[in-house]
Amino acid sequence: MTDQAFVTIRNAAKSYGALEVLKDINLTVNRGQIVAIIGPSGSGKSTLLRAINELDPLTSGEVWLEDVQINKKLPHRQYEAHVNQVRQDIGMVFQHFNLFPHLTVRGNITLAPRMLKGLSEADADKLAEEQLAKVGLSEKIDEYPSRLSGGQKQRVAIARALAMKPKVMLFDEATSALDPELVEEVNLVMKQLAEEHMTMIIVTHEMDFAASVCDRVLFMDQGVVVEEGPPSVIFHDPKEERTRNFLRKHLSR
């Protein structure tokens, strides 16, 4: 089940004019693997994550999910249809949750499954109940997002992404905007996903979490992957000076 390339990034590069934000990045994530991307702000880690589902398309290079190239060059209409299709398999969780404020929790979770998979109202409701139970928020199903705490919002956002039954989940600093006491409840949900062998790519500032959950850690700086390896190596015995400097600042905090 593992040891099978699932998400593959080849020679990824991205620039805005003369500014290169990603330089020749290669990454293979196997099925069920959990990879953390760490690095200082502006290192390109979020850009790389957002390139995986074409939110920030690469300037050159390839992104694959199994045997489908995500960033295929196609005429506009075909490209849109293709991207809409592949995105259904890639869940994403944002720093600021991005829940739809005009919809209830139920509406947030069922919108995409109903529109894209043609689920009936009853089936969609069942799906919402299942996903909410999973993140421990069953009683909030008819609340609007404004009535939830930050941690609850993020758990709903995770449930919303999971409702599309994605093959891989991307987390873009999912706990950075949360008050410290709310971080743990979101981390717990992510740990639970890890135990279910969800393939995950996690951009994070939380070194403890990365160390305890991830199979592999990438340290990025200035658009390149400086170093990568298992957390035991990256956190306790990094080879590169830049990694050491970064970790010194982050671990002593």
Partner: protein
């Protein structure tokens, strides 16, 4: 002040107020239509449409509405457009306010947090599905008040069709001044009636705004 005169002309003014209301409603509807199309053009992926939208807004906001009314009503027949004064006035004012509404609607749409569209697109929704189910419902709420400002302006702007002899409030006031030589009373009555219409519409907008507030 001649109150007896005011009472005598009141029925004519009420009839004129009804014409002003009809003008306002039709102008607002046409304006909303033009505004929606204009905003769609301004936000289009295609440069041609963006350009057309920008030209529309700058031409129609850059010239006096009175000139636009005159061009259509007096100039129209020269190029084969023959309209009665009510139709010409409604169309000219509607297209005019549509240019302002274009910017109002566009502004509301772009001020919806970008993360909303990103979240929807990430789930697999198409551009149009995202617009319809996620962005527009939120933008609609944001545009109620500024559209109310546009509608307030257009109601007062309906006075601009008086010169082409649409028998609305301002024209009626002028007509009675000709026969009574009492401009103070006549314009006062017209003013009060405009205010009543604007007050009622303002209340309607407030009510809508409260109802649409996101829980």
């Amino acid at each position: 002040m001649d109150t007896e005169l005011i009472l005598r002309v009141a029925p004519f003014f009420l009839e004129a107020a009804w014409v002003t209301i009809q003008l306002s409603v039709l102008t607002a509807l046409l304006g909303l239509g033009c505004g929606a199309l204009g905003a769609a053009a301004r936000l289009s992926r295609l440069a041609v449409f963006r350009w057309i939208g920008a030209v529309y807004v700058s031409l129609w906001r850059g010239t006096p509405a009175l000139i636009q009314v005159f061009i259509l009503y007096f100039g129209g027949p020269q190029i084969g457009i023959q309209l009665d004064s009510f139709a010409a006035g409604t169309i000219a004012l509607g297209v005019n306010i549509g240019a302002y509404m274009t910017e109002t609607i566009r502004g509301a749409i772009v001020s919806v947090d970008r993360g909303q569209a990103e979240a929807a697109r990430t789930l697999g929704l198409s551009r149009w599905q995202t617009m319809r189910k996620v962005v527009l419902p939120q933008a609609a709420r944001l545009m109620i008040r500024p559209l109310g400002v546009n509608i307030n302006a257009l109601i007062k702007g309906t006075a601009l069709v008086a010169p082409i002899s649409v028998v609305e409030l301002t024209y009626t006031a002028q007509r009675f001044i000709g026969s009574t030589y009492k401009p103070f009373e006549m314009f006062l009555v017209a003013g009060v009636l405009y205010m009543a219409i604007i007050y009622a519409v303002g209340h309607g907008i407030n009510w809508l705004d409260r109802r649409a507030r996101i829980v």
